[in-house]
Amino acid sequence: MAAYIFRRILLMITLLFMLSVAVFFLFNMLPGDPARLTCGKACTPDLIAANSKRLGYDQPVLVQYQNFVGGIFFGRTFSADSPQPIKCEAPCLGYSFSRHEEVMSLITRAAPVTFWLAVGAFIIWLVVGISLGIFAALKRGRWQDRLTLGVSLVGYSMPSFFIGLILYYFVVIQYRLLPKPEYVSPFDNPFKFLQTMILPWIVLAVLYAAFYMRLTRNQVLEVLNDDYVRTARAKGLPERTVVVKHALRAGLTPIVTSAGLDLAGLLGGAIISENIFNLPGLGSLAVDSITKSDLPIITGLTLLTASLIIVANLVVDLLYAVIDPRVRLT
């Protein structure tokens, strides 16, 4: 087990390295001079040249990459020979000159918002999706099943910007059931936090809950026909035990995979919900930096999201070994 985890971590590092190379070179091959973007309308040829030197864009790409990776591990200093050098401590993902801030501190400020958004929605969609899925499977073919399936189809096919805007319009603007969303930390003002988050949670959860409902229903229906469930019935166990202990235990295991990866994906930023509800999370940050072509932020966010997915994969695999005794991690 320990050897397995060690090997997986090595693999993870290799993967991240390759990814950083890909991301870095891909973004550096984009047309246009990144230094041109740092000054906008105020740009003069001299200023561009100066900024290019400050940011290191005048160096060959390989050296730039070296500086970038060096910054992650040891920190780096921008404008080293100017009167006001900018020191970026490790782990330094770069410096955003459109926001005049280190990428790392931008990310650490936005990450909690996205974290609460993703985790809240995750809990809602798991509870709603899985319980509706089980319900529908047990009522297979009856009106309860059809109704649940129908509702999930609607949830599944409505784009989240649509649900989001509709909810925002009716709940916040038309009927003023909730104040205008404005993010506060749950530790500062839990009530206001909930008021702000409830709508984005619902918007995010609807889509996923619909998907998980269908996934769960199919899983449970499949498992209910399995031989070992018949064995459980043949033992004379109460139907409740048969369903919960025997069918669900086996049927819900594959859902762990989807859940882990979906959560990881969301932790990288929920672009639409964050933008509709004015949440300063990673998704908003990403959209903003893309419109401003702020390469350091985009690079940092891409690496972060990729790392989350890779870590989630490892966690899911480890969880699987805990849940299913047949899975051996070697």
Partner: protein
């Protein structure tokens, strides 16, 4: 058998059937029409005796077993008729009443031990769960019973094996675990649905022996469902041959092998490899079983029967035959007159000694999968 025998109150006096099924009908309504899986089956078993139900895939034998156990989903199937277990009628009973009998008074083992045990739970836990489903005993006591049962079904090092997961056991071992699980509450009826089909030939004999041995020990009534006539010859007291949801012939094992009468039974026996006769090719039954959605008119077997010309007035094609007593305790569902049937049997299976020879060789040819028409030619006399 954990409790002393005196504690177990059996309402049936000795010699009375423990299980008796009468006119059992199981229909599954489906989009394509009604699937007539079982159409009026009758039989009974007493404690200590073994009834074999033989037939091709789709003949309704497994559904019959599941219906007895109350494992046919009542929402999707229509079950009528009567199933009497130890003096109680089950078809009319509620699901929860039958549930209390399942695994307690009647138990079942299934065809595929690979998939019949839950992959996520240790075998000991699965055995203990069966015990605790019906008796109010502590986890520790249930675990000890599990270990004891494992050792009774011949699993070596049961104290260690009790904590194994099913995937750590071989197929034969898993079937032993299934048997242990079925017998942990000492049921008086054990239904074994093709218990050896998924196992190696060498293991098959061991499992059959084990069932026989435990049957004697627990005085269990056994219903064994199989398409393997070798097994039948080995352990059954009585045989019911099923075809298209009906019993077409029912007799004692000796009698059935010695003088089969229904052409379908003849076909099954003729397709067993014989060691005592020189044969180039086996003689399979031509054609396929009918679709349960639409059984043929007249005798359900007539499209595959070679002898319909022996019956006047096209009765085979138009009139459903009844299951009638041909001789004492020998029931046959066939229009052909009994004397004619016996003549046909003699000509098919060889003069006089035929039956005895079959019974002797059937035991050897443990893989003689009847009805599926094995095509490999068999060599000369042994």
């Amino acid at each position: 058998m954990r409790q002393p025998d005196s504690l177990r109150v059996d309402q049936r006096p000795e010699g009375e059937p423990y299980l008796s099924v009468s006119n059992l009908v199981v229909k599954f309504p489906s989009e394509d029409g009604v699937v007539n899986a079982v159409e009026g089956v009758n039989f009974s078993v007493t404690r200590g005796k073994t009834l074999a139900i033989v037939g091709e895939s789709g003949s309704g034998k497994s559904v019959t077993a599941l219906a007895i156990m109350g494992l046919v989903n009542r929402k999707s199937a229509k079950v009528t008729g009567e199933v009497w277990l130890d003096g109680e009628e089950l078809v009319e009973k509620s699901d929860s009443t039958i549930r209390k009998l399942r695994g307690n008074k009647m138990a079942m083992i299934f065809q595929d031990p690979m998939s019949s045990l839950h992959p996520f739970y240790r075998v000991g836990a699965q055995l203990a769960e069966a015990a605790r489903a019906h008796r109010n005993i502590s986890k520790k006591a249930a675990r000890n019973e599990a270990i004891e049962m494992l050792s009774r079904v011949g699993i070596p090092a049961p104290r260690r094996r009790v904590d194994d997961y099913p995937h750590q056991l071989s197929g034969g071992m898993r079937q032993r675990v299934m048997i242990a699980m079925a017998l942990i509450n000492s049921p008086a009826l054990l239904i074994a649905d093709e218990p050896t089909t998924a196992l190696d030939v060498t293991v098959q004999a061991q499992i059959i022996d084990l069932i026989g041995q435990l049957q004697t020990e627990f005085n269990t009534a056994v219903v064994i469902i199989t398409h393997d006539l070798g097994i039948v010859a080995d352990i059954a007291d009585e045989v019911a041959v099923m075809y298209a949801g009906r019993v077409v012939e029912h007799a004692s094992t000796e009698r059935l092998y010695a003088s089969p009468e229904m052409p379908y039974t003849l076909g099954l026996l003729a397709s067993i490899p014989r060691m005592d006769r020189e044969t180039d090719r086996l003689d399979p039954i031509r054609g396929n079983p009918p679709s349960p959605l639409r059984h043929p008119d007249g005798c359900v077997f007539h499209p595959r029967c070679k002898y319909t010309d022996r019956v006047p007035n096209r009765a085979c094609f138009e009139v459903r035959p009844e299951l009638l007593e041909s001789e004492r305790d020998h029931l046959v569902r066939c229009h052909i007159p009994p004397e004619e049937r016996r003549r046909i049997a003699t000509s098919v299976l060889g003069a006089g000694t035929g039956g005895g020879a079959v019974i002797a060789t059937a035991g050897v040819a443990a893989t003689g999968i009847a009805g599926n028409g094995p095509t490999a030619p068999v060599g000369g006399p042994a």
